[in-house]
């Protein structure tokens, strides 16, 4: 089992206009930055992107927005991106804002082979418009459908050529659930290792979910809010 590809360009080679992509990461943290750069270079357009955030103006999905490659964005929080806000308010960009837990759980459902989930998030709000409401034990829940994505693109810390992945700290975030949810899953990793080097007990995403893997070079890993304290 060898899922290694030469790099981001090869990994995304068959992503076409109009496809639906999941992109892991929380803000700039755990973001598949190499594949995003390759998508910008390739110039595919009319993409539907499912990701928690929309990047900042000059990094992450913000780069795809800047090139007007995104038709629809499905996200939970987009407050960091001025291009996004202006494209949204002008109606140029189609946007579905959904609760963060709903976003994660719709990924999870896809990865677990379940068509839908029930969540109380959004009951009584505009998120509930047009959705089925079911009452369980006296409480209302919204039915939310599993995502159906052509590709999931995730970033891990380490991976082996069989596609097994390990994430680091809070760069884990949406990556494991998205890795499970794509029809084709691409993993970019900081360090590609040989099978056996990762402890089977410590693997976060089993290789069965991953179709292509490559090691990215020189990760920028941008920090969005650098907050520090002084040594006393």
């Amino acid at each position: 089992m060898n899922k290694v590809v030469s790099g981001a360009d090869e990994a995304i080679r068959d992503i076409k206009d109009g496809m639906t992509l999941m992109l892991g990461g929380f803000g700039m943290c755990g973001l598949p930055e190499k594949c995003i750069l390759a998508l910008v270079k390739k110039g595919v357009k009319d993409l539907t992107c499912i990701s928690n955030n929309a990047g900042v103006d000059d990094f992450g999905i913000g780069l795809l927005l800047h090139q007007r490659q995104v038709k629809k964005m499905i996200a939970s929080y987009v407050g960091e991106n001025a291009i996004f806000e202006s494209q949204l308010l002008s109606g140029e960009l189609e946007v579905e804002l959904i609760p963060q837990g709903t976003l994660a759980t719709r990924c999870m459902a896809a990865g677990y082979g379940m068509p839908a989930i029930f969540t109380p998030a959004g009951i009584g709000t505009e998120v509930a418009i047009g959705k089925e409401v079911r009452n369980f034990n006296g409480k209302d829940y919204l039915m939310e459908m599993a995502f159906d994505a052509d590709f999931a693109i995730v970033k891990a810390w380490k991976g082996d050529r069989m596609g097994n992945l390990v994430y680091r700290s809070t760069a884990r975030n949406f990556n494991p659930v998205m890795a499970m949810a794509g029809k084709i899953t691409i993993a970019e990793v900081e360090e590609l290792v040989e099978p056996g080097e990762l402890d089977p007990d410590h693997i976060h995403t089993p290789g069965i979910y991953v179709h292509r893997i490559f090691q990215g070079e020189n990760y920028e890993k941008r920090i969005e809010q650098r907050t520090v304290r002084k040594k006393e």
Partner: protein
């Protein structure tokens, strides 16, 4: 009148030993600074961390270690990292004991609005809708009036809602109030130097005053 620090200090008094607490962005984040060292409290950050510690020392920032506000933070001994689905799993299944978040408006029946101003501002709800829909204990940290001097404690919210019938307690620069299950803001405490009349004037929703209202101790 309380400043942001004062609001955070007063809210910190609501935290009990043994609590798992989720702190929202803004004033709620400051609450962490006023939890007594003697208390065993674990902070949950919904991007996937239990055991959030203080900001790192200069030069020790790690881009892989952030909180839900995307700030660089540290992890305390005993921390655990998990994915976003599990993070909201523990929120939905009520393992998190207390949620503290900000609001643009709260209504007298406990509805909250904090994610969108139509035509003006769209940031998104992030994890707020999940938190307010599931948490049993929600405290809102907010300003009592907006910049135009209009009350943010209303009979009904005017902005798009984040959740309904969910807010239990509000701490503002003027007062501490409970939101009663049957509706209405019950005035519990006044901020230092603030009169009941001033709070009445700043509250558009139904304000319930029962006897003498003590000044808060911070």
């Amino acid at each position: 009148m309380l400043d942001k620090t004062g609001i955070a200090k007063r809210i910190a008094k609501e935290i009990k030993d043994g609590y798992y607490v989720n702190l929202g962005i803004g004033i709620p984040t400051l609450v962490a600074n006023y939890i007594p060292d003697t208390m065993d409290v674990v902070l949950q950050s919904e991007n996937g961390l239990l055991g959030m510690g203080p900001f790192p020392y200069e030069g020790e920032e790690d881009p892989d270690v952030i909180n839900a506000g995307k700030q660089t933070i540290t992890m305390l001994p005993g921390s655990a990292v998990f994915d976003s689905a599990m993070s909201f799993g523990m929120i939905r299944s009520k393992k998190v004991n207390l949620t503290i978040l900000g609001a643009m408006e709260v209504s007298e029946n406990g509805d909250i609005a904090n994610w969108k101003i139509p035509g003006k501002m769209v940031k998104g709800m992030g994890g707020a809708m999940d938190l307010v829909a599931s948490a049993e204990n929600i405290i809102v940290a907010m300003q009592h009036v907006n910049k135009a001097g209009e009350s943010k404690l209303l009979p009904q919210c005017t902005l798009p809602l984040t959740g309904i019938h969910c807010v239990k307690k509000i701490v503002t620069e003027l007062a501490v109030l409970d939101v009663l299950p049957e509706g209405g803001f019950k005035l519990l405490e006044r901020a230092p130097g603030i009169s009941v009349e001033e709070i009445k004037a700043a509250t558009a929703g139904k304000l319930i005053i029962d006897g003498e209202v003590p000044e808060m101790v911070i």
